[in-house]
Amino acid sequence: MTNNLLRIKDLSVIYKTDLETVYAINGVSLSLNKGETLGLVGETGAGKTTLALSLLRLLPERTSKITCGEIMFKDKNILEMSAEEVRSIRGAQIAMIFQDPMTALNPVLTIGQQIGEAIELHSEDTNKEKIEKRVEEVLSLVGIEPVRKKDYPHQFSGGMKQRVVIAMALACEPDLIVADEPTTALDVTIQAQVLKMMRDLRDRLGTAMIMITHDLGIVAQICDNVAVMYAGNIVESGTAEDIFEGDEHHPYTIGLFNSIPDLENKTSRLKPIPGLMPDPTEIPIGCSFAPRCVHCMEICKTGKPTQYVNGSHSIVCNLFAEGGAK
């Protein structure tokens, strides 16, 4: 067995309606080893959530279509599995943490019932007492008193609810957790708490994680590897060091970093990236970032940019191509 847990190859997803076709993901490839954490960064609409949903085959059936590519999870292609097989993987081997804990919990069921559900579905042993015990274990794991399992979601604060959601994801000890902006709906102090907890749990349980976020601070805190997404493409990827400390960057990544305040340098204004993300119904023929890029060259507008690889660091940009003017 290799150490590889998940390998996505050349995945493309479109949303198709009568009026238009949205190209949400355009040929994304990435891989993840056991126990690793991958940060998926990008601005809103870059296709991060679509990528996460396609991992679990949760894309809306009627409008979305995976046009090509494969998702290998433990050497099996998720896209070719039967509905039954996918269901046995969901929750048990791949779990998801949702963005908004306020809506991710069913208001009329106790949290114990909701956490217990996944266990009940996926363990062969459906002994009620054992399930209850496991629920209590998981709850104390995320720092909630086990007596509160009989409470309903509205009796918890936002941060506590997110802990419950994390407990639900952890219930079956999955190999991979997909966290879709798990801290966006929380305020900063709670964010830090939840992140710390997730990091501790990950280290303790050895779970691999895909962390979807638009907050580079979170990425720096928790991720081993980072992939920067833009308009359905991964434009830069590498280890956290490559991204945060490397010298060479995709112009979009530089733009992202320029948009966060820096404590050391005195700047009166942040430098946002000018313009908007391209309309996903009309992806440019060339580099999708070209219209906003300050280094844009003629070849960027006409053809797909080339990939530049330096060790673990990969940048998809013509700037670094051979003979490219820096």
């Binding site: 046995s88 969901r90 929750g91 908004d100 069913n106 009329v108 996926h122 959601v165 639900m168």
Partner: protein, 288 residues
């Protein structure tokens, strides 16, 4: 910690405790229990023969000590008839409401959940049912199956399915788009499990209110079918048909109308109150 201990009771106890808090719900429950007991012990309260034996001498008598609720056009004791009609009427009302809720609920919930072609197909089927007036539809069904109580219940259920299907479908719409449904899918739940365990508890309040309201309309509709000779056959007493019989004597013997009408009112009121109380007690969002 005391507070905690109280909460660790069983779910039934907890619901009961909250149910008891509402006086209206308790009154409803007490009335309902009394009616239920009347239905069970009807023969002990007053012999059945009193309800069907005609007595031409004593027709259209005002309420008195001998005949508590007076007598009807055939000199039968209205009190005895109302007592003996209780099981029939309650049974018709409740069974029609519950059966149509279950069938209509399944149609409505599944079509809102799956959507698309399935939804279209189901809703057009419901549209076809709706295009025929309810009473007419029931009459056709009874005419085909034959006139007796069981067939009448089947006919009324068929006529009512469209209402409960529509009500439950529209109630589900708000919940299917919620993230917790997706989260449940993500946890590996099957569609049927999601519908039963996640969606039904969420729309329980709406379903309960709709069902309790349909109990009284069903009793009244049974009356109009009985009136047409398609349901409970005379001389078997039945509240709705008693009410219908009283129409002709409205001016001369208003008591004939008052008592069966009051019985229907009490039955539907008590069931509505129970339904309301149950909804409040079961919905954790309203928990104080």
């Amino acid at each position: 910690m005391d507070n905690r201990k109280k909460r660790t009771g069983s779910k039934f106890k907890e619901t009961w405790r909250r149910y008891c808090k509402s006086p209206a719900a308790m009154i409803g429950l007490i009335i309902f229990i009394i009616m239920f007991l009347v239905a069970i012990f009807a023969n002990q309260i007053v012999p059945y023969s009193d309800a069907v034996t005609q007595n031409a001498k004593e027709r259209l008598m005002q309420p008195s000590l001998n005949n508590w609720f007076g007598t009807d056009a055939f000199g039968r004791s209205i009190f005895a008839r109302i007592v003996h009609a209780t099981p029939t009427s309650l049974f018709i009302g409740i069974s029609v409401a519950v059966i149509s809720l279950v069938i209509g609920g399944m149609i409505g919930i599944s079509s809102a959940y799956f959507g698309g072609r399935y939804d279209d197909l189901m809703m057009r089927f419901i549209d076809v049912l709706s295009s025929i007036p309810g009473t007419l539809l029931s009459m056709v069904v009874v005419a085909v199956l034959g006139a007796n109580m069981r067939n009448m219940i089947i006919a009324m259920v068929i006529a009512r399915i469209r209402v409960s299907a529509r009500v439950s479908r529209s109630a589900v719409f708000g919940t299917t788009s919620q993230e917790y449904i997706e989260a449940a899918k993500c946890g590996g739940s099957s569609d049927i499990r999601i519908m039963i365990k996640h969606i039904v508890p969420n729309i329980m309040g709406i379903l309960l209110v709709d069902t309790t309201m349909s109990v009284s309309t069903s009793i009244l509709q049974a009356a109009s079918l009985s009136f047409l000779g398609l349901g409970v056959q005379p001389p078997t007493p039945e509240w709705g048909s008693m009410l219908n019989d009283a129409r002709i004597y409205m001016r001369t013997a208003p008591h004939m109308m008052f008592f069966p009408g009051f019985a229907i009112l009490l039955a539907s009121l008590s069931i509505s109150l129970v339904g309301d109380g149950l909804r409040d007690a079961l919905d954790p969002r309203l928990k104080s």
